[in-house]
């Protein structure tokens, strides 16, 4: 027998030093800011975007790689060891992954803005190397874990999608594939609905019940939804590359059914949850769940030949800005104080409350600006109106500043709480 408290000090499983997840969160905040700034710069091109280098593509990758993947990396490096009880044997691969990935995204974006192929290649190689290292770290963790089957299966499939999208992306940069719209659409679909979509669904299965204080949906139900979604995605991408539009619609229909089932199950979790006041973050998360199936339905309408020219671009916009950006920022504002509370806690000390680590004002400013930005840019794309995109991007920029303020404030408060806990007890 031993005294509790000493047990914690001798714990085998680990929390990372906060500098590791937070470097990803700060980088995500900066790329969020850059993404909106590039949208502002690209305002005239955004409503007529059809792919190819330029400020619009740069803005898109600032958000997809710079915010979505960046946040997923920071959060998963810290959350996987905690929830699975497996520890990282060493920290250098996670650190090296950050040194390669974070600047790599910036170099790739610079390449897209300048149209300079060598710069794109340098950025692509650097971030791919960083991602490979990150994946090797997570694979080693998950290979030893036996719990959290739903999260693990989603993650394995997300990794398959990641490999496919990186290979297609590099092949496009190095001109190994003739870049037609079908290949670019496959790359985008795998990135958004494959890699990010599966990660979002997998993380939701653990994080939403945790935040709402409810039991997770049944494992069988979640895995069935995942199987239907993944099969639909394979059909959709395969048929798209083969130029079979009718089959693309069947695949997208399967994804839509799975998405609705996922959203309904998450809604049931929240309704059953013991925590009723879930805060601003869940306004964002719930809004993103409305746009998730809507983006697929819009894609189906666009492929079906609905007589509305920007339909496909709007579907992509809904997926990137309406669903994923809203979802990731909603989850991030829950995760950061949660991880900060764990980092600020030490054996024998009372852990700080989440409300002590998170200030509400920046989140309110961000949420308001984010939704205004989403609506304005959407209108700008729908009616080809540059000023609406500019107005939306300006609101987005203010919101991104507020979110960066929130990130810095959580980090500052965590350090204050940690230093309080380190004081000798009298």
């Amino acid at each position: 027998m031993q005294l509790a408290g000493t047990i914690i000090a001798g714990a085998g499983a680990r929390l990372l030093p906060p500098s590791i997840p937070y470097r990803f969160f700060f980088a995500s905040g900066l790329y969020h800011l850059l993404g909106w700034a590039l949208m502002l710069k690209a305002a005239v091109q955004v409503p007529v975007f059809q792919g190819g280098p330029g400020f619009t593509l740069a803005a898109l990758h600032a958000l997809t790689l710079g915010v979505f993947v960046m946040t997923a990396m920071g959060a998963s490096l810290q959350i996987f060891p905690v929830v699975t009880g497996q520890s990282l044997k060493t920290l250098w691969p996670a650190r090296l992954a950050s040194w390669l990935f974070i600047p790599g995204v910036g170099v790739l974006i610079a390449g897209f803005t300048s149209g300079h192929t060598e710069t794109m290649a340098a950025g692509g190689i650097s971030l791919s190397a960083g991602l490979t290292l990150y994946v090797s770290v997570i694979v080693r963790l998950l290979a030893q874990a036996s719990s959290f089957k739903v999260l693990r299966y989603h993650f394995w499939l997300a990794l398959v999608a990641l490999a496919a999208l990186v290979l297609i992306g590099l092949a496009m940069i190095f001109d190994l594939l003739s870049i037609d719209q079908d290949v670019a659409a496959a790359h985008g679909t795998i990135a958004l609905y494959g890699f990010m979509g599966l990660l979002a669904m997998g993380f939701s299965s653990v994080l939403v019940p945790m935040f709402a204080l409810a039991n997770a949906p049944s494992q069988g139900y979640s895995l069935l939804v995942m199987a239907l979604y993944s099969a639909g995605l394979v059909v959709c991408v395969g048929a798209g590359l083969a130029g079979q539009q009718q089959i693309v619609i069947i695949g997208a229909g399967m994804m839509l059914m799975a998405t609705l089932a996922h959203v309904l199950s998450m809604n049931r979790v929240i309704k059953a949850g013991m925590k009723k006041k879930l805060g601003i973050s869940f306004i964002l998360i719930r809004a993103s769940w409305i746009v998730f199936p809507l983006s697929i339905a819009s894609g189906i309408a666009a492929v079906s030949g609905v007589p509305f020219e920007p339909a496909l671009l709007l579907a992509g916009y809904l997926a990137v800005f309406g669903w994923l950006l809203t979802f990731v920022l909603g989850v991030q504002q829950q995760i950061m104080p949660f991880l900060a509370a764990m980092n600020a806690s030490t054996a024998g000390n009372k852990p700080p409350r989440l409300s002590q680590l998170a200030r509400g004002a920046p989140l309110k400013i961000h949420a308001v600006c984010h939704f205004i930005a989403f609506v304005f840019v959407g209108i700008g794309i729908a009616i080809d109106m540059e000023t609406a995109v500019q107005a939306g991007a300006s609101f987005g920029l203010i919101g991104a500043c507020a979110f960066l303020w929130f990130t810095a404030d959580v980090y500052r408060r965590m350090n204050i709480q940690s230093s309080k806990n380190e004081r000798p007890q009298i």
Partner: protein, 111 residues
Amino acid sequence: MTQNGKESVPEICPVLPSTDGTRPARTGPSISIHGTETHIDVRGLESPEPLVSILTLLENPDVTDTVIVIHDRDPLLLYPELEDRDWDWSQLPAPMGQLHLRLTRTPRAEG
């Protein structure tokens, strides 16, 4: 963090090591009453089931004023919820790989 020139990982994780390196898979909490105490064993449950099980038990009007929690993690998210529900907690001696908590209902101030 560097020790003797070598990188090491800080030892402050809320997940406790089990003695044999494995975690038994469980499907629900084990609850038993011992005199004036209710014992709830949530070891081996996937997060957030331990937290939900403990809070569900505490919200049961028939629960005893003292509850002993047998856990395999330090449940950091539980403590603020206990404060909100007027329960106090203290740690008890426990075997390696376990964390035992004594939860006691805090008398509400009258008036």
